[in-house]
Symmetry: C2
Subunit: 217 residues, 2 copies
Amino acid sequence: MTLSEENYLKAIYHLEQLSGSGVSTNALAEEMQTKASSATDMVKKLADKQMLIHVPYQGATLSDAGRSHAVKVIRKHRLWETFLVEKLNFKWDEVHDVAEQLEHIKSEKLIDELDRFLEFPKYDPHGDPIPDKNGKFNTIEKITLTQALENKSYRCIGVKDDSSQFLKYLDSNQIGLGTSFEVVHKEPFDQSVKIKLKDKELVVSQSVAKNLFLETL
Amino acid sequence: MTLSEENYLKAIYHLEQLSGSGVSTNALAEEMQTKASSATDMVKKLADKQMLIHVPYQGATLSDAGRSHAVKVIRKHRLWETFLVEKLNFKWDEVHDVAEQLEHIKSEKLIDELDRFLEFPKYDPHGDPIPDKNGKFNTIEKITLTQALENKSYRCIGVKDDSSQFLKYLDSNQIGLGTSFEVVHKEPFDQSVKIKLKDKELVVSQSVAKNLFLETL
DNA sequence: ACCTTTTTTTAGTTTTGTCTAAAAATATAA
DNA sequence: TTATATTTTTAGACAAAACTAAAAAAAGGT
């Protein structure tokens, strides 16, 4: 698998998870920041390699081999992110681009030893679960802040958007993984949410609320 | 710099060190396991990018920018090799191929933090010096076992050949970095060398002797 | 100096992954 | 259902980095 093929597999896996079904050429091109014709070309190549099933004009669905390979890349990405934060003093908003490069390094021993070195972490710095050597990983039910109820308490356990911009916003408002707060008010007009956090009140917009994963306390 | 360009720069740097002068197209093609025409193409490209000076039919010489970039890649390679051996349980004969991939990861913070994490090592697992952030590194005078004198004692401080085959040969004969021994006899007929190592005598061929770096005891 | 051999360069192709432009298939809507 | 819009695919081109084959330059030997 080339670097480009792996990136497409990861994108298709991601879109399948979101929609629960096959992935359209346009959606894939959008995700990959490229043109539909390029996406078609790559989908055909991955179909040749038995990584997915492609019905022309009806999108692509990963095969077991394709899904398994995508999960391996995701495992590598999340382990490297964990390494960067735990051992190399990276902040959670600095790891993404470097991990995008490191996830393509080919060496099974490398990744399994890294896993051991990090003591088999279950979650990465953004709260995403890390697949184990066999591709298994936890999927706990998480809600977003948009779905939370007034006057209940929650703990932040993940982020949907891991862009540097969003993570820096959270940092500057003292929200991180493990942060607990109470939902004070949900504003129907603009879907903003007022929360009480360490005795301070904070209003976050809908764009923020929909990207915060919570567990009920 | 692309992956391929970096690999050529590294090869040119290596050959310049060996010969002390400019690098011929044929030598470069040989080092890169490719054809002379491919080497010419790349040399022209690197000349365009001001990484080297190319006089047609007279070989290539690295510019300061080219040498500096080559040293950066070497720094990364040797730091990653050190990481693999020190932290991830790799043997010294297992690191080369993985480090060849890792040396191309682009992130200054990554490599400087890795350096700190490893506590600023001065030598890699094969005894080669690791350039610091500014590209400076130790160059101690080392001799090879072929140059050693009878009835004198030496310590192994490096290897010229870091192929898995050679390193496994050394392992199986209990020779590693730091191993000390005495030269018992140099055989003029075939340049083989008899050494006394931990009270056992061992004869090594010329091919082995010329790839072992020593310091005098 | 001349011929031969070796080295280096040039010219033209290939493969991978991208692009644009246009054609074909599907979906939507009057 | 028929026209329009959207989505997807095809066709043809391009850049990077490799190749083969052939031409050009340099080096060596007599």
